[in-house]
Symmetry: C2
Subunit: 158 residues, 2 copies
């Protein structure tokens, strides 16, 4: 018998549960909610701030564009996000001597403290989540995501 449960075709009989993009959408939302609550509890910072922090990293000295290359974030959004982080005293900007268009970004002492506190917690969370998966699930989900990302960007099917 060759017939697998997947690939699932969806129709009135097959519930939305089996539509891959739909499942990703749902799970993504729930993980986001979870991450936001988790961050709220551990360090009180917003998810977007945390993601940007991760990009700046402990060493700092990044720029807007570098961050954007890493996390594919809208530049307006990033600009405002960083402004918020500067206001909260998490990040400092200093001008780049060589290129006056861009600013070098680093964490403040406070930002660094929060970063250092949050990183291990987020690692634990990551391990917890991955720990729920079997070996092959955790291997396959990464490669599947890679392929889906490519598939979504190829214009083959558009």
């Amino acid at each position: 018998m060759e017939t697998a449960i997947y690939p699932p075709e969806f129709d009135s009989d097959t519930p939305l549960q089996n539509v891959l993009t739909w499942r990703i959408h749902q799970v993504h939302n729930r993980l986001n909610v979870h991450a936001a609550k988790f961050l709220e509890k551990t360090s009180g910072i917003a998810l977007a701030h945390w993601r940007v922090m991760l990009c700046i990293g402990a060493d700092g000295n990044t720029t807007h564009s570098e961050i954007r290359r890493k996390i594919a974030m809208d530049k307006g959004q990033l600009s405002r996000c960083l402004k918020g982080m500067v206001d909260e005293g998490l990040v400092v900007t200093q001008e780049d001597a060589a290129d006056q268009r861009q600013q070098r970004l680093s964490l403040t002492k406070k930002g660094r403290r929060i970063f250092d506190k949050t990183l291990p917690e987020m690692r634990k969370r990551q391990s917890y989540l991955i720990g729920r998966l079997s070996k092959s699930e955790s291997r396959m989900i990464f490669s599947a995501l890679d392929k889906l990302e490519v598939a979504a960007q190829n214009h083959e099917f558009l």
Copy 2:
């Protein structure tokens, strides 16, 4: 040698690429963009409208709450979304004789026409996406997503 590439711990050396929740976030965004463009091309309807349409289904006669149970959508959002769909002539509401609080929802002829045109296209897209994956990837990604969803909702790790 037992060491696998995964589960990936993230730190300054391990790029964000290996953070599972991050990857899901990225891939989700790209799939969304792809889906929206695809729908734009095939039937000109919005992704949110399509999702709701799928819930109403060809047979129709659903209610707000039934849809919400299926797709875990905010009720305010759904209310406005449906209003838009009614304005566009995709959906009709009629009052439920037995329960005056709720409305029965169905597709209009126009809505039905778009639904019938879009469904096979979206199926093709789904098959295309799943087709990029190996058998075990497509099997494992579904089970992994299921487990992650549970993990994100359990308060074990919160």
